[in-house]
């Protein structure tokens, strides 16, 4: 049962940060509330002050930079990302991933920032955004830093955010020409059990760049650089064996655990399956875009 709390509505990021500083452990940022309020209702956590970031001007919204980077305000709901034309044209993999997050009610109010900051291991965006080398901007009163998304995640339900720090923006650089990204997930409970993001760049029949990230399986979503190395600079035509090898490496590196979603063994197997399928789909996507 939800216990009473005070809802604060700051007018700026600085004011929000100040509120966090003032109330310390008793305060928490509140975006869509789809995680926070649920956990509070269950009595798992309680905060006396919820600091609403949805009303802070400039924190919600999507825009494209001159260099083609996608800048996403932390308080942007999933539903906006799912339907924004610039996202679906320039970053179709992100639009598709977003369209498949949770259900429409959660997507309508749940935000990308909330998803990343909650750091629930069973989630999608954290894995896919890493193959774009996305960065996140963290702000507090009187300071800001930008770090690779990868470094935001410290452990299950744990980020590197300081107590008075907010996530304000997610920046997604565009992929090189002749590239495509694909995200595939698998699961049968409410949340994903395994998610694999792949981005490939092709040049002269070779894989010029391969990026792989795995999420949901282990404690945090991670880039799989050893697995990427297996595919790097390979002729596309004979990537099959390397792909199986990359799958095995990624599976081992994924720190799979056994839980209600399935056994570690099964999840490792699925990492291999999804990696192969995602990679092949990405190759097909590059080929497809070149035919057009």
């Amino acid at each position: 049962m939800l216990r009473p709390f005070e809802l604060c509505e700051p007018a700026s990021v600085a004011e929000a940060s100040e509120l966090l500083l003032r109330h310390g452990e008793a305060a928490r940022i509140y975006a869509g509330g789809t995680e926070l309020i649920l956990a509070m209702k269950e009595g798992l956590i309680h905060y006396d002050y919820l600091v609403n970031v949805k009303t802070v001007p400039g924190l919600a919204g999507v825009r494209l930079d001159a260099d083609g980077s996608l800048r996403i305000g932390a308080a942007t709901p999933h539903r906006v990302l799912e339907r924004d034309p610039s996202v679906s044209e320039r970053f179709p993999a992100i639009a598709r991933m977003e369209a498949d997050v949770a259900n429409v009610r959660v997507r309508e109010v749940g935000t990308l920032g909330g998803n990343l900051c909650f750091a629930e291991p069973h989630a999608d965006p954290g894995a896919l955004l890493q193959v774009f080398d996305a960065t996140v901007r963290l702000e507090r009163k009187g300071g800001a830093r930008t770090i690779p998304l990868e470094r935001l995640f410290v452990g299950p339900f744990e980020t590197c955010l300081e107590g008075d720090e907010l996530l304000t923006e997610i920046v997604v650089p565009p992929l090189a020409p002749r590239s495509a990204a694909v995200y595939l997930k698998f699961g049968f409970l409410e949340r994903p059990s395994v998610g694999v993001g792949v981005a490939v760049t092709l040049a002269d029949g070779h894989v010029a760049d391969a990026r792989i990230a795995v999420g949901s399986v282990g404690p945090v979503p991670r880039r799989m650089r050893d697995a990427e190395a297996r595919l790097q600079d390979r002729p596309v035509a004979d990537s099959e064996a390397a792909l199986a090898e990359a799958g095995r490496i990624a599976a081992r590196a994924s720190d799979a655990i056994t839980d209600l979603h399935g056994s570690a063994e099964y999840k490792e197997h699925l990492v291999g399956v999804l990696l192969r399928r995602a990679f092949q789909a990405a190759l097909a996507a590059v080929a497809g875009s070149e035919r057009r």
Binding site: M1, F188, L189, E190, L260, G262, Y266, V273
Partner: protein, 762 residues
Amino acid sequence: MSVGRAATRVDTPAKATGRARFISDVVVPGMVHAKLWRSPVPHARILRVDPARAARAEGVLAVLTAADLPVKDLYYGPAFKDQPMLADGVIRYAGEPVVAVVAETAAQAEAALALVAVEWEELPTVATLDAALAPGAPVLHARLVPAAHFRDLTALRPIPSTNVCHHWSYARGDVDRGFAEADLVVEQTFTFPMVHHYSLEPHCAIARVDGHGITVWASTQHPFPVRKELAEIFGLPLARVQVIVPYLGGAYGNKSYTKIEPLTIALALRVKRPVRLALTVEEAFKTVRRAAVRYRLKTGVRRDGTLVARDCEIHYQLGAYADVGPRVVQKSAYTAAGPYRIPHLRINAYGVYTNTVVSVAFRGYGVPQLAWAYESQMDVIAERLGWDPLALRLLNVLKRGEPLMEGDLPIDCDFAEGLGKAAAQIGWNEPTAAPRRGKGIACTIKAPLAPSVSSAMVRMHADGSATLLTGTVECGQGARTALSQIVAEELALPLDRVRVARSEVGMSPYDQATSASRSTTLMGLAVLRAARDVRDQLLTIGARLLESERPALTLRDERIVSPRGERTYGEAVAAHFGTGGELIGRGTYRGERGHAPLGGEAPFWEVGMAAAEVEVDGDTGRVRILRYVSVADIGRAINPRECEAQEEGAAMMGIGHTLFEQMIYDGGQLLNPSLIDYRVPVMSDLPEEYRSILVENGDGPGPYGAKGIGESGLIPTAPAVANAIARAIGVRITDLPMTPERVWRASDRARRRAAPAEGPST
């Protein structure tokens, strides 16, 4: 014509606009709120409860343990009086209520729960069938007191000094000789896990005690049996116990028989205020579930395909208390061998206590668990004999008029017709369009509740409109609509001139239960008779008014019509009484006691047939149901759309336990009592193509030849899908649910067996 029409449900406007009253809308002046402290451990002796700190918390009126409840008998239950309202010295499952806190607000009661101090000493836990049946296992109930409420539950056979609270057995022919005569004997063990009903509305009760007696607003499918039990517990005449049932937000058996009503009343007695106890979804998970089953099934068959012998050994994993489990055991075991002709048959069924959530009635009443085994095994037999599974069924399935059980109703439908329709719809003989696809079929039977009783009253008012008084509970199944249609049909009234009064035991005539797919058929008969009673009275009055012979009169468009003129009903009622007044019709259905092995005679058999086509992703194990066909033999559809809705809903529920649902225990701890971790079917799990076929031969005992419907749709689902999976990828799965990991593991094992030289595949 009202019957046979897809009339819009009479409760649709109220439900669509939010005006329908559910129990959560009921506010009783002065009511206060209860919350329960539930045991974190599965089996323990309670050493001490310290209520002091909680009692001092803001708003708290009382903190009560079993010893504090002002009741004649702390224990209740439809089979045995084995379940205490609050744990009585011993905790028997994790989640069992131990202490009740009553406070001015629900939030205050909940806050005070954290201040309740309980000390206990843990006892060894028996959370599985194996543990509960092991020699020397701790016995959960040393002494069992039969409840003696129901005739069929008076002859229960507990095995003394064990956890078996009921052993039901049956035999005919000579099973050993049968196996000796068989050319092929197949023996397998199938399991079906614990499953939660998950109705949108969890259990809730509001109790008020005053000079008139007890009034309880309850979420129950059994207002009359609940009243009886409450009258006993609180030592009151039946007439002083009022049970009021608003619309139920889903039931599926989880609201059958007595649940939280006695405790809520006891609390109200103590605090001398009306008390509301509303469970959360998580608490509902810790209150009710379906019995898990392990079924060892051995079948002997001749080379020519005829079944000769079956030996059925079934263990039902009941929970910490029996609830209606013993009846689930015997009713379902009764049809454990399926709708087949089997000369030599032996059935041994055991209900076993374990330190887990209480298993109660659940749509299908144990039969889905058993059909899962026997219909899976039919396909295994077909495969071993090289037979087509449909042909094997057609050869062995009972024909109309053949006996299923001696002394009981002979088979009252044509299985061949239904199976033929299912097969035609799924394209049984056409090849699948792609690899890794397969089709499966299943054919099942369920015995109804017998004997049973229902009464109804129809009041025709001075303006010719009518009110139906029925104890049937509307739990979303559309009962009010179907029963109204019967009244409208008999009295030539438009549907909107018929109203169903809310269900209150003090006003409605007796009804045994809203369960067992019986309401439209058996309550329907009572309603039909009550309406005909009114009709009769109208005709008598009409004959006098119109100076006609009765046979010359008919009812049409709210009028009594004769060749010599006509009168509206209103005119007839007014003429009869002078001024106001109303005609009152009465109707009763009373089932036959009969001489069948379980007593009672089935008024009809509920049969369910299904065919499914699936596609299996061999790499992930994901099963996609491409097409699903459900066939119900229902005699006559009073409302075809509602019948289809029952079939669709049931099939969807069946898909849940087939592919996803299971309550997962670690030791005695339930790990997934929430919808995040317990997977119910959702819209995206719908089969790509779904068809339900209603077979209407007018051969049922109900109004206009109707038979019961509502449960049949989920009984054949699991085996139909498993059989389709087996034909798609050559892998037989014997444990539910068929999760992707399970399917992957089974197919991976099969792959390894087929090609042992190959390394692991990815």
